[in-house]
Symmetry: C2
Subunit: 196 residues, 2 copies
């Protein structure tokens, strides 16, 4: 069913595919479809409702001696490993979501729930409310960017490694003090040729 749905979404666009077409392509009945999925959107997002709780649980289990940001990072990598084992065809899924405003809105809501769960879990751990509210969306940004990189180049690295790589890139970027230009000179010259 999932394969049939992904094929059809890619061929015709998510908005133009009906559940009847999916079941027909898969050679199954509507009844079978309903046993697994609430609607066609659910084919793409099934299981993602567990993500906020899984991340919050992992933040809670992180070594109590860890500062908030490393604790959150360890939760992201742990949950990334679990998630990666369950998501099939990430590249196709990404292309379908990017082509549909409705699905992008759904994704936005999902990531907002993740941010809320991370903030609550950090506070549970003793992080102040203001700091938790600042760090949680940064954790979500790392998770989301790593997921995107993973879906763009499946097989290049594990999702957990990409989360670590993305976090390291963020740390390097925010450490750049004002006035420092991190870009190699050659690239900078090329930028100027483009009008900067």
């Amino acid at each position: 069913l999932r394969e049939a749905a992904l094929e059809l979404f890619l061929e015709h666009g998510f908005d133009h595919v009906t559940v009847a077409q999916i079941t027909e392509r898969a050679g199954l009945t509507r009844r079978t479809f309903s046993r697994y999925f609430a609607d066609k959107r659910d084919v793409l997002f099934a299981g993602s409702e567990q993500l906020p709780g899984a991340l919050a649980g992992a933040v809670g289990r992180a070594d109590p001696a860890l500062a908030p940001f490393p604790a959150m990072l360890s939760a992201l990598t742990e949950t990334g490993d679990l998630l990666a084992g369950r998501v099939q065809h990430p590249a196709e899924r990404r292309a379908i979501v990017q082509a549909s405003p409705e699905l992008q809105e759904r994704g936005r809501t999902k990531f907002a729930e993740i941010t809320g769960a991370l903030a609550a879990a950090l506070q549970q751990r003793g992080t102040g409310e203001a700091t938790a509210a600042l760090l949680a969306p940064v954790g979500t940004a790392i998770f989301r960017a790593a997921l995107d990189r993973w879906a763009q180049q499946p097989g290049r690295a594990s999702l957990a490694d990409l989360i670590r790589e993305t976090a390291a890139e963020l740390v390097a970027n925010v450490q750049a003090g004002p006035g420092q230009d991190q870009q190699p000179r050659g690239l900078h010259v090329a930028d100027e040729r483009r009008g900067w």
Copy 2:
């Protein structure tokens, strides 16, 4: 009109206030209301549609020698100063938005637009797509957290100073290596007493 609307939203909750009540309290006609606002939501968000463009413009004007993160920060502080001059009654506004799921959803959409504008503006400046997609939501997280602090304690510091303070807090947090506990020992003991 804005004062009357804020009063009513605080008294009865945003969802239960009508435009008729607002104009009656202000002693003005519906026609006058419509000259300034599209609907009652617009009373709270009027002007915010300019924010993504203003931020993107400020990123574009930032010193070309700056690395992406400091360039984004300078845009946030510049725009924060402008914004602070225009937002009236931030504390009341914050309380109203926090009490209404509809307004929170509206805020989420607004911040997603800001993230999109920051990412596009960073790319225009020559930042790679993946790095821009990672840094833009971090910029939004800083902006949003600083706005929240500003609304919670109006008068404590300028919005621009709070943006700088929030960014510095983020940098300090992400620099904490794994295994380092940044919290003072006393606080940590107190945390353990609470079950951690």
